[in-house]
Amino acid sequence: MTEVMMKPGAITTEPVLSRSEYEDFLYHEAALLDAWRLDEWLELFVEGATYEVPTAGAPDDADSSESLFYIADDYFRLRHRIKRLNSKQAHSEWPRSKTLHTVTNVRILGAEADGVRVTSNFVTYRTKNDVTHTFVGRHYYVLRKTDDKLCIVSKRSMLDMDNLRPQGRVSIIV
């Protein structure tokens, strides 16, 4: 597992908040996803943000320009992902699956110029068509305070699984 600790001498304008403030933010994010309040979830992201899910078992530093991911959204595609998920024509998620996002082991990894690196473990349950699937892994965030609100600069969800069997798809936001 790669961890980027505070770099000595790094120029940062981003103050590091207490862990509980980041935890509150991540719990809020999870609650928005469980309630399918996806437009509000999208508003958590700054313009230009990225959202990535590398393939299960990929190294933490996997590069979407060199390796095939499941999801490697720039902000344009992320907006469309949410537009799509809000539509009844996103058949994979209509009728909507029930999800439960749990977040644990929240740690502050360090501050950089673009924001503070925060990680958590996660277990996300998705229930659809009478079956409940489990996704497990780690989220890596870069979070920044903008206009007195915490925002997501980037989110990468690493799946600590061998593959997507039996889950089959990542059509929810894990």
Binding site: V53, P54, T55, A56, A58, A62, S64, S65, E66, S67, L68, F69, Y70, I71, A72, F76, R77, H80, R81, K83, R84, S87, Q89, A90, H91, S92, E93, N129, D162, N163, L164, R165, P166, Q167, G168, R169, V170, S171
Partner: protein, 431 residues
Amino acid sequence: MATLLKAVPEKTGRWVVEDRNKGVFKVAREAFVSDAIFEKERERIFDKCWLYLGHATELKEANDYLTRNVAGRELIFNRDRKGSYNAFFNVCPHRGAMVAREKCGSALGFKCFYHGWAFNNNGKFATRMGEGFYPEDFGKDGSVDLVRVPRLEEYRGFYFINFDEGAVSLEEYLADSREIIDLVADQSPNGMEIIGGGQQYSINANWKLLLENSFDGYHAEDTHATYFEYLSDYIGGAANDDLSAAKVESRAIDLKNGHAVIEGKAPWGRPIARTIPSWGEDGAADIRAARAELEARLGVEKAHRIADGDRNMGIFPSLVINDIMAITIRTFHPVSSGLIHVNAWAMGPVGEPRLQRKRRLDNFLEFLGPGGFATPDDVEALESAHRGYGNAKFAPWNDISRGLLKDQPTNFDEEQMRCFWREWARRMEDQ
């Protein structure tokens, strides 16, 4: 007096019915859900046909290996010390544990962790036994070497196996699909390679549903409306209009032996070599250069077919090579009648510059795979159909008649699926 239609004999099997007089082609839903039919498929199809194992570029150096399950069998695909490609059953000749348990690596040999039996990477038994336990010439006859898969053959870097020693050659089996494989293999002067990080996922449906879906132009507008909305925004035009225009020019081609391809021109950008406005002037320049290279190397006609055509090809029974907004290679081996294990890979030119590789992978992810804007909806459709087939006793038939009586069926007809089903029936229906 009206022209008398010449009567064409009806081909009525138990599971596949083709009646050209009525313009009807039907497949029994029992063929998707019956465990007895699945067992018969294992014997008559998966133990007899050429099955895709992997690509040459997945094993770059001598001694490289990977482990892979093909049609329910655990295999090792490797290169020995001399660099030759091999396929072994991943099972110790002694008591049966798997001798390679990592996904991939480099190994001069394989050692079973259970009792320590060891093998060179050419499969030869290489274990030092204590004196007195076995006869002196134990294993000299090859009887405790790793067991080779009966046949391993290659076409343009695509390695296939066959569990039937007496099968026809791979080239003969591939028949006209070779021409379409060439259109992929010829896309770069440096050769084509598998891009790192394949996608492995499962679908709770019968494997034949995914074969049908993988080259089904008819479903695109309905199932994938949200993808085309995205695409319209991305390319700055109405992708649906382009799609409608494409219907006229497209065609389905029978490639023999149950293989078929649909070929047309779709609205998305192709990393080789059709640009879209959102790739900007840089993208346009890259594409101009790629087209010029193709024309110089392959001639104008073939270059244009590669650059402008989108092709979805099914190779009987369980391989798809789709050369569309990106190139995907996909196998879908059944675990049971109602469960598929899918392996999907992306393919691109060896030495592709980073920005072009990124465009290619973005194109792939927009549509394809478990997190794409289209594949998850296909999975939902397949699983939904499979559940529906539980009603087979009372609602027994799938209709795949669309375009049956046309001289030249298009992408939006169902001829490509009929090519598959005719071969399936030939192998499965008792005469």
